[in-house]
Point group: C2
Chain length 315, copies 2
Protein backbone atom coordinates (compact mmCIF):
# COMPACT_ATOMS: atom_id res chain seq x y z
CA UNK A 1 0.00 0.00 0.00
CA UNK A 2 0.99 3.55 -0.73
CA UNK A 3 1.95 6.01 1.98
CA UNK A 4 1.47 9.28 0.12
CA UNK A 5 -1.79 11.14 0.49
CA UNK A 6 -3.17 12.90 -2.58
CA UNK A 7 -6.32 14.97 -2.94
CA UNK A 8 -9.20 13.52 -4.99
CA UNK A 9 -9.63 16.83 -6.83
CA UNK A 10 -6.87 19.09 -8.07
CA UNK A 11 -6.05 21.44 -10.93
CA UNK A 12 -2.85 20.71 -12.86
CA UNK A 13 -2.78 24.28 -14.20
CA UNK A 14 -3.12 25.86 -10.75
CA UNK A 15 -0.46 23.51 -9.37
CA UNK A 16 1.89 24.39 -12.23
CA UNK A 17 1.29 28.10 -11.64
CA UNK A 18 1.82 27.79 -7.90
CA UNK A 19 5.07 25.88 -8.43
CA UNK A 20 6.22 28.62 -10.80
CA UNK A 21 5.31 31.28 -8.18
CA UNK A 22 7.23 29.32 -5.53
CA UNK A 23 10.29 29.40 -7.82
CA UNK A 24 10.11 33.11 -8.59
CA UNK A 25 11.23 36.17 -6.64
CA UNK A 26 13.83 36.39 -3.91
CA UNK A 27 14.52 32.85 -2.66
CA UNK A 28 12.53 29.75 -3.42
CA UNK A 29 9.49 28.63 -1.44
CA UNK A 30 10.52 25.01 -0.90
CA UNK A 31 7.67 24.37 1.52
CA UNK A 32 5.19 25.49 -1.12
CA UNK A 33 6.71 23.08 -3.63
CA UNK A 34 6.60 20.20 -1.13
CA UNK A 35 3.00 20.98 -0.20
CA UNK A 36 2.07 20.47 -3.84
CA UNK A 37 4.33 17.79 -5.30
CA UNK A 38 4.69 15.82 -2.07
CA UNK A 39 0.94 15.23 -2.19
CA UNK A 40 0.23 14.31 -5.77
CA UNK A 41 0.10 10.79 -7.18
CA UNK A 42 1.83 9.59 -10.36
CA UNK A 43 -0.99 10.53 -12.68
CA UNK A 44 -1.41 13.95 -11.08
CA UNK A 45 2.34 14.70 -11.30
CA UNK A 46 2.29 13.71 -14.94
CA UNK A 47 -0.51 16.19 -15.64
CA UNK A 48 1.25 18.93 -13.66
CA UNK A 49 4.46 18.37 -15.64
CA UNK A 50 2.48 18.54 -18.88
CA UNK A 51 0.64 21.70 -17.79
CA UNK A 52 3.94 23.25 -16.70
CA UNK A 53 5.49 22.52 -20.08
CA UNK A 54 2.52 23.93 -21.96
CA UNK A 55 2.39 27.14 -19.94
CA UNK A 56 6.12 27.87 -19.48
CA UNK A 57 7.71 25.88 -22.34
CA UNK A 58 10.16 24.35 -19.93
CA UNK A 59 10.46 20.94 -18.34
CA UNK A 60 9.44 21.04 -14.70
CA UNK A 61 12.50 18.99 -13.71
CA UNK A 62 14.80 21.62 -15.28
CA UNK A 63 13.08 24.37 -13.32
CA UNK A 64 13.37 22.37 -10.08
CA UNK A 65 17.02 21.55 -10.77
CA UNK A 66 17.86 25.20 -11.23
CA UNK A 67 16.01 26.37 -8.09
CA UNK A 68 16.77 23.62 -5.62
CA UNK A 69 19.91 21.83 -4.53
CA UNK A 70 21.42 18.84 -2.78
CA UNK A 71 19.53 15.76 -1.66
CA UNK A 72 16.19 17.54 -1.75
CA UNK A 73 16.64 18.53 -5.40
CA UNK A 74 17.72 15.05 -6.44
CA UNK A 75 14.86 13.39 -4.58
CA UNK A 76 12.09 15.67 -5.84
CA UNK A 77 13.37 15.46 -9.43
CA UNK A 78 13.31 11.65 -9.20
CA UNK A 79 9.76 11.98 -7.90
CA UNK A 80 8.63 14.10 -10.85
CA UNK A 81 10.03 11.69 -13.45
CA UNK A 82 7.85 8.97 -14.92
CA UNK A 83 8.87 5.56 -13.46
CA UNK A 84 10.60 4.32 -16.67
CA UNK A 85 12.54 7.60 -17.01
CA UNK A 86 13.40 7.40 -13.32
CA UNK A 87 14.76 3.89 -13.70
CA UNK A 88 16.76 4.93 -16.76
CA UNK A 89 18.19 7.88 -14.83
CA UNK A 90 18.99 5.78 -11.75
CA UNK A 91 20.67 3.13 -13.90
CA UNK A 92 22.69 5.73 -15.77
CA UNK A 93 23.91 7.39 -12.56
CA UNK A 94 24.74 3.96 -11.10
CA UNK A 95 26.78 3.08 -14.20
CA UNK A 96 28.71 6.33 -14.22
CA UNK A 97 30.22 5.78 -10.79
CA UNK A 98 33.88 4.71 -10.66
CA UNK A 99 32.65 1.35 -9.41
CA UNK A 100 29.14 0.91 -10.84
CA UNK A 101 26.46 0.66 -8.17
CA UNK A 102 25.40 -2.90 -8.93
CA UNK A 103 22.61 -2.97 -6.35
CA UNK A 104 20.63 -0.31 -8.23
CA UNK A 105 20.82 -2.40 -11.40
CA UNK A 106 19.86 -5.56 -9.52
CA UNK A 107 16.82 -3.77 -8.08
CA UNK A 108 15.69 -2.53 -11.48
CA UNK A 109 16.25 -5.92 -13.13
CA UNK A 110 14.54 -7.97 -10.40
CA UNK A 111 11.80 -5.74 -9.02
CA UNK A 112 10.06 -4.58 -12.17
CA UNK A 113 7.46 -6.54 -14.09
CA UNK A 114 8.72 -7.71 -17.52
CA UNK A 115 6.73 -4.93 -19.22
CA UNK A 116 7.98 -2.28 -16.78
CA UNK A 117 11.59 -3.38 -17.26
CA UNK A 118 11.09 -3.09 -20.99
CA UNK A 119 9.65 0.41 -20.56
CA UNK A 120 12.73 1.38 -18.55
CA UNK A 121 15.05 0.01 -21.26
CA UNK A 122 13.07 1.94 -23.84
CA UNK A 123 13.40 5.14 -21.79
CA UNK A 124 17.15 4.53 -21.37
CA UNK A 125 17.63 4.10 -25.10
CA UNK A 126 15.72 7.23 -25.88
CA UNK A 127 17.49 9.35 -23.22
CA UNK A 128 21.07 8.16 -23.76
CA UNK A 129 21.15 6.95 -27.39
CA UNK A 130 22.58 3.63 -26.30
CA UNK A 131 20.94 0.57 -24.84
CA UNK A 132 21.03 -0.11 -21.11
CA UNK A 133 22.68 -3.48 -21.66
CA UNK A 134 25.23 -1.85 -23.95
CA UNK A 135 26.42 0.61 -21.28
CA UNK A 136 26.22 -2.04 -18.58
CA UNK A 137 28.26 -4.55 -20.59
CA UNK A 138 30.94 -2.01 -21.43
CA UNK A 139 31.32 -0.91 -17.78
CA UNK A 140 31.59 -4.38 -16.24
CA UNK A 141 33.20 -7.73 -16.89
CA UNK A 142 33.40 -11.34 -15.73
CA UNK A 143 30.64 -13.03 -13.76
CA UNK A 144 28.98 -9.83 -12.63
CA UNK A 145 28.62 -8.73 -16.23
CA UNK A 146 27.15 -12.08 -17.22
CA UNK A 147 24.64 -11.92 -14.39
CA UNK A 148 23.57 -8.29 -14.72
CA UNK A 149 23.45 -8.09 -18.50
CA UNK A 150 21.36 -11.26 -18.65
CA UNK A 151 19.04 -9.97 -15.94
CA UNK A 152 18.40 -6.52 -17.41
CA UNK A 153 17.95 -8.00 -20.92
CA UNK A 154 15.36 -10.56 -19.88
CA UNK A 155 11.77 -10.38 -20.98
CA UNK A 156 10.47 -13.10 -18.73
CA UNK A 157 7.28 -15.07 -18.84
CA UNK A 158 5.05 -13.61 -16.17
CA UNK A 159 2.24 -16.10 -15.95
CA UNK A 160 1.49 -18.24 -12.92
CA UNK A 161 2.50 -21.64 -14.30
CA UNK A 162 5.13 -23.54 -12.33
CA UNK A 163 7.08 -26.65 -13.35
CA UNK A 164 7.82 -28.51 -10.12
CA UNK A 165 10.10 -31.13 -11.72
CA UNK A 166 12.20 -28.39 -13.21
CA UNK A 167 12.21 -26.55 -9.86
CA UNK A 168 13.71 -29.65 -8.23
CA UNK A 169 16.41 -30.19 -10.85
CA UNK A 170 17.35 -26.52 -10.96
CA UNK A 171 17.46 -26.25 -7.17
CA UNK A 172 20.06 -29.04 -7.35
CA UNK A 173 22.00 -27.16 -10.04
CA UNK A 174 22.09 -24.01 -7.90
CA UNK A 175 23.20 -26.03 -4.88
CA UNK A 176 26.03 -27.71 -6.79
CA UNK A 177 27.31 -24.49 -8.28
CA UNK A 178 26.98 -22.41 -5.13
CA UNK A 179 28.69 -24.97 -2.95
CA UNK A 180 31.59 -24.84 -5.35
CA UNK A 181 31.45 -28.17 -7.12
CA UNK A 182 31.15 -26.51 -10.52
CA UNK A 183 33.91 -24.53 -12.21
CA UNK A 184 31.65 -21.57 -12.91
CA UNK A 185 28.18 -20.17 -12.28
CA UNK A 186 26.92 -20.37 -15.86
CA UNK A 187 23.84 -22.38 -14.93
CA UNK A 188 23.05 -20.28 -11.87
CA UNK A 189 23.10 -17.19 -14.07
CA UNK A 190 20.93 -18.90 -16.67
CA UNK A 191 18.35 -19.93 -14.08
CA UNK A 192 18.27 -16.54 -12.32
CA UNK A 193 18.05 -14.54 -15.52
CA UNK A 194 15.55 -16.63 -17.48
CA UNK A 195 13.12 -18.33 -15.12
CA UNK A 196 9.95 -16.45 -14.19
CA UNK A 197 9.52 -14.98 -10.71
CA UNK A 198 7.04 -17.62 -9.59
CA UNK A 199 9.26 -20.40 -10.95
CA UNK A 200 12.26 -18.94 -9.12
CA UNK A 201 10.29 -18.80 -5.88
CA UNK A 202 9.45 -22.47 -6.37
CA UNK A 203 13.14 -23.22 -6.97
CA UNK A 204 14.21 -21.37 -3.80
CA UNK A 205 11.55 -23.19 -1.75
CA UNK A 206 12.64 -26.54 -3.16
CA UNK A 207 16.24 -25.64 -2.32
CA UNK A 208 15.33 -25.12 1.31
CA UNK A 209 13.28 -28.36 1.43
CA UNK A 210 16.14 -30.36 -0.06
CA UNK A 211 19.08 -28.95 1.86
CA UNK A 212 17.54 -27.58 5.05
CA UNK A 213 19.05 -24.13 4.56
CA UNK A 214 18.00 -21.22 2.42
CA UNK A 215 20.02 -20.41 -0.67
CA UNK A 216 20.74 -16.92 0.70
CA UNK A 217 22.22 -18.45 3.89
CA UNK A 218 24.40 -20.75 1.79
CA UNK A 219 25.62 -17.76 -0.18
CA UNK A 220 26.53 -15.96 3.05
CA UNK A 221 29.03 -18.72 3.86
CA UNK A 222 30.98 -17.93 0.70
CA UNK A 223 33.99 -15.68 0.50
CA UNK A 224 32.40 -12.48 -0.78
CA UNK A 225 32.90 -10.97 -4.19
CA UNK A 226 31.02 -8.30 -6.09
CA UNK A 227 29.41 -11.00 -8.16
CA UNK A 228 28.27 -13.09 -5.20
CA UNK A 229 26.91 -10.10 -3.41
CA UNK A 230 24.95 -9.05 -6.51
CA UNK A 231 23.69 -12.62 -6.88
CA UNK A 232 22.56 -12.68 -3.27
CA UNK A 233 20.86 -9.29 -3.67
CA UNK A 234 19.03 -10.56 -6.75
CA UNK A 235 17.79 -13.65 -4.92
CA UNK A 236 16.65 -11.54 -1.98
CA UNK A 237 14.81 -9.14 -4.32
CA UNK A 238 12.95 -12.05 -5.91
CA UNK A 239 12.22 -13.88 -2.63
CA UNK A 240 10.87 -10.95 -0.68
CA UNK A 241 10.99 -7.50 -2.27
CA UNK A 242 9.60 -5.61 0.73
CA UNK A 243 12.02 -7.20 3.18
CA UNK A 244 14.85 -6.39 0.78
CA UNK A 245 13.79 -2.74 0.61
CA UNK A 246 13.41 -2.51 4.40
CA UNK A 247 17.03 -3.68 4.66
CA UNK A 248 18.22 -1.15 2.07
CA UNK A 249 16.50 1.59 4.08
CA UNK A 250 18.06 0.35 7.31
CA UNK A 251 21.54 0.29 5.75
CA UNK A 252 21.01 3.73 4.22
CA UNK A 253 19.83 5.24 7.50
CA UNK A 254 22.49 3.55 9.63
CA UNK A 255 25.43 4.18 7.33
CA UNK A 256 27.89 6.84 8.47
CA UNK A 257 26.43 10.18 7.38
CA UNK A 258 23.33 8.49 5.93
CA UNK A 259 23.25 7.17 2.33
CA UNK A 260 20.77 9.73 0.96
CA UNK A 261 20.85 8.34 -2.59
CA UNK A 262 19.65 4.92 -1.46
CA UNK A 263 17.16 6.45 0.97
CA UNK A 264 15.63 8.69 -1.72
CA UNK A 265 15.63 5.93 -4.32
CA UNK A 266 13.60 3.54 -2.18
CA UNK A 267 11.25 6.17 -0.76
CA UNK A 268 10.47 7.70 -4.15
CA UNK A 269 10.15 4.35 -5.95
CA UNK A 270 7.91 2.78 -3.31
CA UNK A 271 5.87 5.68 -1.85
CA UNK A 272 3.00 4.88 -4.20
CA UNK A 273 3.35 1.12 -3.98
CA UNK A 274 4.38 -0.86 -0.90
CA UNK A 275 6.05 1.69 1.35
CA UNK A 276 3.43 1.04 4.04
CA UNK A 277 4.34 -2.66 4.25
CA UNK A 278 8.04 -1.81 4.02
CA UNK A 279 7.64 0.64 6.94
CA UNK A 280 5.89 -2.08 8.98
CA UNK A 281 8.76 -4.50 8.35
CA UNK A 282 11.19 -1.72 9.22
CA UNK A 283 9.51 -1.14 12.57
CA UNK A 284 9.51 -4.86 13.41
CA UNK A 285 13.21 -5.25 12.69
CA UNK A 286 14.51 -1.98 14.10
CA UNK A 287 12.27 -1.13 17.08
CA UNK A 288 11.89 2.37 15.68
CA UNK A 289 9.43 3.54 13.06
CA UNK A 290 10.68 4.47 9.60
CA UNK A 291 9.14 7.93 10.08
CA UNK A 292 11.10 8.49 13.30
CA UNK A 293 14.32 7.19 11.77
CA UNK A 294 13.94 9.40 8.70
CA UNK A 295 13.10 12.44 10.87
CA UNK A 296 16.15 11.80 13.03
CA UNK A 297 18.68 11.26 10.25
CA UNK A 298 17.62 13.94 7.76
CA UNK A 299 16.91 17.65 8.01
CA UNK A 300 15.43 20.70 6.33
CA UNK A 301 13.46 20.49 3.11
CA UNK A 302 14.77 17.02 2.36
CA UNK A 303 13.33 15.76 5.65
CA UNK A 304 10.04 17.56 5.02
CA UNK A 305 9.76 16.00 1.57
CA UNK A 306 10.52 12.45 2.73
CA UNK A 307 7.97 12.82 5.52
CA UNK A 308 5.41 14.00 2.95
CA UNK A 309 6.12 10.81 0.98
CA UNK A 310 5.45 8.90 4.21
CA UNK A 311 2.01 10.54 4.42
CA UNK A 312 2.73 13.42 6.79
CA UNK A 313 1.25 16.87 6.17
CA UNK A 314 -1.96 17.87 4.48
CA UNK A 315 -2.86 16.80 1.00
CA UNK B 1 11.36 -4.67 -52.98
CA UNK B 2 8.61 -7.20 -52.72
CA UNK B 3 8.04 -9.90 -55.31
CA UNK B 4 4.45 -10.84 -54.52
CA UNK B 5 1.65 -9.25 -56.49
CA UNK B 6 -1.54 -8.39 -54.63
CA UNK B 7 -4.75 -6.84 -55.97
CA UNK B 8 -5.56 -3.27 -54.91
CA UNK B 9 -9.15 -4.27 -54.10
CA UNK B 10 -10.28 -7.45 -52.41
CA UNK B 11 -12.93 -8.76 -50.03
CA UNK B 12 -11.67 -10.56 -46.93
CA UNK B 13 -15.07 -12.22 -46.45
CA UNK B 14 -15.22 -13.52 -50.04
CA UNK B 15 -11.64 -14.76 -49.76
CA UNK B 16 -12.40 -16.53 -46.48
CA UNK B 17 -15.49 -18.14 -48.02
CA UNK B 18 -13.59 -19.23 -51.13
CA UNK B 19 -10.84 -20.77 -49.02
CA UNK B 20 -13.48 -22.65 -47.03
CA UNK B 21 -15.04 -23.90 -50.29
CA UNK B 22 -11.61 -24.99 -51.54
CA UNK B 23 -11.24 -27.04 -48.35
CA UNK B 24 -14.66 -28.69 -48.51
CA UNK B 25 -15.93 -31.62 -50.51
CA UNK B 26 -13.96 -34.45 -52.05
CA UNK B 27 -10.27 -33.43 -52.11
CA UNK B 28 -8.87 -30.00 -51.52
CA UNK B 29 -8.53 -27.37 -54.22
CA UNK B 30 -4.90 -26.38 -53.53
CA UNK B 31 -4.71 -24.26 -56.65
CA UNK B 32 -7.69 -22.24 -55.46
CA UNK B 33 -6.01 -21.65 -52.10
CA UNK B 34 -2.75 -20.58 -53.77
CA UNK B 35 -4.58 -18.26 -56.15
CA UNK B 36 -5.96 -16.43 -53.13
CA UNK B 37 -3.34 -16.54 -50.36
CA UNK B 38 -0.34 -16.46 -52.74
CA UNK B 39 -1.52 -13.08 -53.93
CA UNK B 40 -2.44 -11.24 -50.77
CA UNK B 41 -0.15 -8.94 -48.80
CA UNK B 42 0.39 -9.02 -45.04
CA UNK B 43 -2.48 -6.70 -44.21
CA UNK B 44 -4.86 -8.54 -46.55
CA UNK B 45 -3.93 -11.93 -45.09
CA UNK B 46 -4.51 -10.59 -41.61
CA UNK B 47 -8.02 -9.46 -42.57
CA UNK B 48 -8.76 -12.80 -44.27
CA UNK B 49 -7.65 -14.67 -41.15
CA UNK B 50 -9.88 -12.44 -39.01
CA UNK B 51 -12.84 -12.86 -41.36
CA UNK B 52 -12.28 -16.62 -41.43
CA UNK B 53 -12.30 -16.76 -37.66
CA UNK B 54 -15.44 -14.66 -37.40
CA UNK B 55 -17.36 -16.72 -39.94
CA UNK B 56 -16.17 -20.25 -39.09
CA UNK B 57 -14.94 -19.85 -35.48
CA UNK B 58 -11.72 -21.58 -36.40
CA UNK B 59 -8.19 -20.36 -36.99
CA UNK B 60 -7.34 -20.36 -40.68
CA UNK B 61 -3.97 -22.00 -39.96
CA UNK B 62 -5.72 -24.93 -38.23
CA UNK B 63 -7.98 -25.42 -41.24
CA UNK B 64 -5.00 -25.30 -43.61
CA UNK B 65 -3.02 -27.72 -41.44
CA UNK B 66 -5.82 -30.26 -41.49
CA UNK B 67 -6.39 -30.03 -45.27
CA UNK B 68 -2.86 -29.73 -46.63
CA UNK B 69 0.38 -31.57 -46.03
CA UNK B 70 4.14 -31.59 -46.38
CA UNK B 71 6.28 -28.65 -47.45
CA UNK B 72 3.32 -26.86 -49.01
CA UNK B 73 1.33 -26.96 -45.79
CA UNK B 74 4.25 -25.77 -43.67
CA UNK B 75 5.08 -22.94 -46.09
CA UNK B 76 1.55 -21.62 -46.48
CA UNK B 77 0.92 -21.77 -42.73
CA UNK B 78 4.10 -19.75 -42.14
CA UNK B 79 2.80 -17.29 -44.72
CA UNK B 80 -0.55 -16.86 -42.96
CA UNK B 81 1.04 -16.17 -39.58
CA UNK B 82 1.78 -12.60 -38.49
CA UNK B 83 5.56 -11.96 -38.69
CA UNK B 84 6.11 -12.00 -34.89
CA UNK B 85 4.13 -15.25 -34.55
CA UNK B 86 6.05 -16.66 -37.51
CA UNK B 87 9.39 -15.83 -35.88
CA UNK B 88 8.23 -17.34 -32.60
CA UNK B 89 7.16 -20.50 -34.43
CA UNK B 90 10.41 -20.72 -36.45
CA UNK B 91 12.48 -20.22 -33.30
CA UNK B 92 10.51 -22.85 -31.42
CA UNK B 93 10.89 -25.42 -34.20
CA UNK B 94 14.62 -24.59 -34.45
CA UNK B 95 15.04 -25.11 -30.70
CA UNK B 96 13.20 -28.42 -30.67
CA UNK B 97 15.61 -30.12 -33.06
CA UNK B 98 18.10 -32.56 -31.56
CA UNK B 99 20.80 -30.04 -32.40
CA UNK B 100 19.10 -26.62 -32.36
CA UNK B 101 19.16 -24.89 -35.73
CA UNK B 102 21.33 -21.95 -34.68
CA UNK B 103 21.16 -20.20 -38.03
CA UNK B 104 17.42 -19.58 -37.67
CA UNK B 105 18.01 -17.94 -34.30
CA UNK B 106 20.89 -15.88 -35.66
CA UNK B 107 18.67 -14.65 -38.49
CA UNK B 108 15.87 -13.65 -36.14
CA UNK B 109 18.25 -11.94 -33.72
CA UNK B 110 20.23 -10.05 -36.38
CA UNK B 111 17.76 -9.30 -39.15
CA UNK B 112 14.87 -7.81 -37.22
CA UNK B 113 14.62 -4.23 -36.05
CA UNK B 114 14.83 -3.88 -32.25
CA UNK B 115 11.05 -3.36 -32.08
CA UNK B 116 10.34 -6.32 -34.36
CA UNK B 117 12.62 -8.58 -32.33
CA UNK B 118 10.75 -7.51 -29.22
CA UNK B 119 7.42 -8.29 -30.91
CA UNK B 120 8.73 -11.77 -31.76
CA UNK B 121 9.83 -12.34 -28.16
CA UNK B 122 6.40 -11.19 -26.99
CA UNK B 123 4.70 -13.61 -29.40
CA UNK B 124 6.98 -16.45 -28.23
CA UNK B 125 6.11 -15.80 -24.60
CA UNK B 126 2.43 -15.73 -25.30
CA UNK B 127 2.47 -18.88 -27.48
CA UNK B 128 4.78 -21.07 -25.38
CA UNK B 129 4.42 -19.70 -21.81
CA UNK B 130 8.17 -19.36 -21.54
CA UNK B 131 10.52 -16.70 -22.82
CA UNK B 132 12.54 -17.22 -25.99
CA UNK B 133 15.81 -16.67 -24.15
CA UNK B 134 14.69 -19.12 -21.46
CA UNK B 135 14.20 -21.97 -23.95
CA UNK B 136 17.31 -20.99 -25.87
CA UNK B 137 19.47 -20.89 -22.75
CA UNK B 138 18.23 -24.24 -21.53
CA UNK B 139 18.87 -25.94 -24.89
CA UNK B 140 22.43 -24.65 -25.43
CA UNK B 141 25.62 -24.03 -23.50
CA UNK B 142 29.08 -22.53 -23.67
CA UNK B 143 30.04 -19.81 -26.14
CA UNK B 144 27.15 -20.39 -28.49
CA UNK B 145 24.71 -19.92 -25.64
CA UNK B 146 26.44 -16.71 -24.56
CA UNK B 147 26.31 -15.35 -28.09
CA UNK B 148 22.76 -16.34 -28.99
CA UNK B 149 21.10 -15.51 -25.68
CA UNK B 150 22.74 -12.08 -25.65
CA UNK B 151 21.72 -11.45 -29.26
CA UNK B 152 18.06 -12.45 -28.91
CA UNK B 153 17.75 -10.54 -25.62
CA UNK B 154 19.12 -7.28 -26.98
CA UNK B 155 16.98 -4.21 -27.39
CA UNK B 156 19.53 -2.19 -29.33
CA UNK B 157 19.72 1.51 -30.01
CA UNK B 158 18.56 1.96 -33.57
CA UNK B 159 19.51 5.55 -34.30
CA UNK B 160 22.08 6.64 -36.85
CA UNK B 161 24.78 7.91 -34.47
CA UNK B 162 28.22 6.35 -34.84
CA UNK B 163 31.20 6.62 -32.49
CA UNK B 164 34.28 6.30 -34.73
CA UNK B 165 36.80 6.18 -31.86
CA UNK B 166 34.89 3.33 -30.31
CA UNK B 167 34.66 1.62 -33.71
CA UNK B 168 38.46 1.69 -33.95
CA UNK B 169 39.08 0.33 -30.44
CA UNK B 170 36.43 -2.36 -30.77
CA UNK B 171 37.71 -3.43 -34.20
CA UNK B 172 41.04 -4.02 -32.43
CA UNK B 173 39.33 -6.02 -29.69
CA UNK B 174 37.59 -8.25 -32.26
CA UNK B 175 40.87 -8.75 -34.12
CA UNK B 176 42.74 -9.73 -30.97
CA UNK B 177 40.09 -12.17 -29.84
CA UNK B 178 39.45 -13.71 -33.24
CA UNK B 179 43.12 -14.21 -33.98
CA UNK B 180 43.34 -16.11 -30.74
CA UNK B 181 45.33 -13.83 -28.49
CA UNK B 182 42.55 -13.76 -25.90
CA UNK B 183 41.46 -16.70 -23.79
CA UNK B 184 37.81 -16.28 -24.65
CA UNK B 185 35.39 -14.33 -26.84
CA UNK B 186 33.66 -12.41 -24.07
CA UNK B 187 34.33 -9.02 -25.64
CA UNK B 188 33.42 -10.17 -29.15
CA UNK B 189 30.08 -11.37 -27.82
CA UNK B 190 29.58 -8.11 -25.93
CA UNK B 191 30.27 -6.01 -29.03
CA UNK B 192 28.13 -8.13 -31.38
CA UNK B 193 25.20 -8.32 -29.01
CA UNK B 194 25.08 -4.74 -27.74
CA UNK B 195 26.34 -2.35 -30.43
CA UNK B 196 23.78 -0.96 -32.87
CA UNK B 197 23.70 -2.17 -36.49
CA UNK B 198 25.23 1.04 -37.86
CA UNK B 199 27.95 0.99 -35.19
CA UNK B 200 28.72 -2.65 -36.02
CA UNK B 201 29.01 -1.81 -39.71
CA UNK B 202 31.47 0.95 -38.78
CA UNK B 203 33.44 -1.56 -36.68
CA UNK B 204 33.59 -4.10 -39.53
CA UNK B 205 34.71 -1.40 -41.99
CA UNK B 206 37.38 -0.19 -39.58
CA UNK B 207 38.52 -3.81 -39.16
CA UNK B 208 39.09 -4.12 -42.88
CA UNK B 209 40.89 -0.75 -43.05
CA UNK B 210 43.19 -1.70 -40.20
CA UNK B 211 44.03 -5.29 -41.12
CA UNK B 212 43.49 -5.44 -44.87
CA UNK B 213 41.10 -8.39 -44.61
CA UNK B 214 37.46 -8.62 -43.71
CA UNK B 215 36.50 -10.03 -40.35
CA UNK B 216 34.48 -12.78 -42.05
CA UNK B 217 37.59 -13.87 -44.02
CA UNK B 218 39.61 -13.98 -40.80
CA UNK B 219 36.93 -16.14 -39.23
CA UNK B 220 37.09 -18.56 -42.17
CA UNK B 221 40.71 -19.32 -41.32
CA UNK B 222 39.69 -20.63 -37.94
CA UNK B 223 39.06 -24.24 -37.09
CA UNK B 224 35.28 -24.36 -37.25
CA UNK B 225 32.97 -24.84 -34.33
CA UNK B 226 29.25 -24.31 -33.92
CA UNK B 227 29.98 -21.10 -32.08
CA UNK B 228 32.32 -19.70 -34.73
CA UNK B 229 29.97 -20.56 -37.51
CA UNK B 230 27.08 -18.85 -35.68
CA UNK B 231 29.34 -15.85 -35.06
CA UNK B 232 30.26 -15.66 -38.73
CA UNK B 233 26.60 -15.99 -39.75
CA UNK B 234 25.69 -13.14 -37.39
CA UNK B 235 28.36 -10.89 -38.84
CA UNK B 236 27.27 -11.71 -42.38
CA UNK B 237 23.62 -10.98 -41.49
CA UNK B 238 24.60 -7.57 -40.15
CA UNK B 239 27.02 -6.71 -42.96
CA UNK B 240 24.78 -7.57 -45.86
CA UNK B 241 21.41 -9.17 -45.13
CA UNK B 242 20.40 -9.68 -48.77
CA UNK B 243 23.67 -11.35 -49.72
CA UNK B 244 23.32 -13.57 -46.66
CA UNK B 245 19.80 -14.62 -47.69
CA UNK B 246 20.89 -15.25 -51.30
CA UNK B 247 23.50 -17.64 -49.91
CA UNK B 248 20.96 -19.40 -47.67
CA UNK B 249 18.74 -19.90 -50.72
CA UNK B 250 21.65 -21.22 -52.77
CA UNK B 251 22.61 -23.70 -50.05
CA UNK B 252 18.98 -24.75 -49.60
CA UNK B 253 18.48 -25.32 -53.33
CA UNK B 254 21.83 -27.03 -53.88
CA UNK B 255 21.70 -29.29 -50.85
CA UNK B 256 21.01 -32.95 -51.50
CA UNK B 257 17.23 -33.29 -51.78
CA UNK B 258 16.72 -29.53 -51.27
CA UNK B 259 16.41 -28.00 -47.80
CA UNK B 260 12.74 -27.04 -48.04
CA UNK B 261 12.56 -25.61 -44.54
CA UNK B 262 15.27 -23.05 -45.26
CA UNK B 263 13.85 -22.34 -48.72
CA UNK B 264 10.35 -21.70 -47.36
CA UNK B 265 11.64 -19.67 -44.43
CA UNK B 266 13.52 -17.20 -46.60
CA UNK B 267 10.89 -16.98 -49.34
CA UNK B 268 8.02 -16.42 -46.91
CA UNK B 269 9.94 -13.99 -44.70
CA UNK B 270 11.27 -11.89 -47.59
CA UNK B 271 8.57 -12.08 -50.30
CA UNK B 272 7.09 -8.80 -49.11
CA UNK B 273 10.40 -7.14 -48.36
CA UNK B 274 13.63 -7.60 -50.31
CA UNK B 275 13.10 -10.81 -52.26
CA UNK B 276 13.53 -8.91 -55.52
CA UNK B 277 17.04 -7.74 -54.58
CA UNK B 278 17.85 -11.15 -53.13
CA UNK B 279 16.76 -12.75 -56.44
CA UNK B 280 19.02 -10.32 -58.36
CA UNK B 281 21.99 -11.26 -56.20
CA UNK B 282 21.09 -14.90 -56.64
CA UNK B 283 21.15 -14.57 -60.43
CA UNK B 284 24.52 -12.78 -60.38
CA UNK B 285 26.16 -15.44 -58.25
CA UNK B 286 24.59 -18.54 -59.74
CA UNK B 287 24.03 -17.81 -63.45
CA UNK B 288 20.50 -19.05 -63.09
CA UNK B 289 17.48 -17.09 -61.91
CA UNK B 290 15.95 -17.86 -58.52
CA UNK B 291 12.63 -18.56 -60.29
CA UNK B 292 14.23 -21.16 -62.56
CA UNK B 293 16.12 -22.77 -59.69
CA UNK B 294 12.98 -22.97 -57.55
CA UNK B 295 10.95 -24.36 -60.48
CA UNK B 296 13.62 -27.00 -61.12
CA UNK B 297 14.09 -28.16 -57.54
CA UNK B 298 10.50 -28.17 -56.28
CA UNK B 299 7.24 -29.62 -57.57
CA UNK B 300 3.47 -29.66 -57.27
CA UNK B 301 1.56 -27.25 -55.06
CA UNK B 302 4.70 -26.31 -53.15
CA UNK B 303 6.35 -25.19 -56.37
CA UNK B 304 3.21 -23.30 -57.45
CA UNK B 305 3.07 -21.51 -54.10
CA UNK B 306 6.75 -20.49 -54.11
CA UNK B 307 6.40 -19.21 -57.67
CA UNK B 308 3.37 -17.18 -56.58
CA UNK B 309 5.53 -15.64 -53.86
CA UNK B 310 8.02 -14.78 -56.60
CA UNK B 311 5.30 -12.87 -58.45
CA UNK B 312 4.12 -15.51 -60.94
CA UNK B 313 0.44 -16.00 -61.69
CA UNK B 314 -2.41 -13.54 -61.59
CA UNK B 315 -3.24 -11.47 -58.56
Amino acid sequence: MATIVSPPHFSPVEDAENIKKACQGWGTDEKGIISILGHRNLFQRKLIRQAYHEIYHEDLTHQLKSELSGDFERAICLWVLDPPERDAHLANVALQKTVPDYKVLVEIACMRSPEDLLASRRAYRSLYKRSLEEDLASRTNGDIRRLLVAMVSAYKYDGEEIDETLAQSEAEILHDEILGKAIDHEETIRVLSTRSSVQLSAIFNRYKDLYGRSITKDLLNHPTSEYLSALRAAIRCIKNPNRYYAKVLRNAINSVGTDEDALSRVMVTKAEKDLKQIAELYLKRNDVSLDQAVAKETSGDYKAFLLALLGHGEA
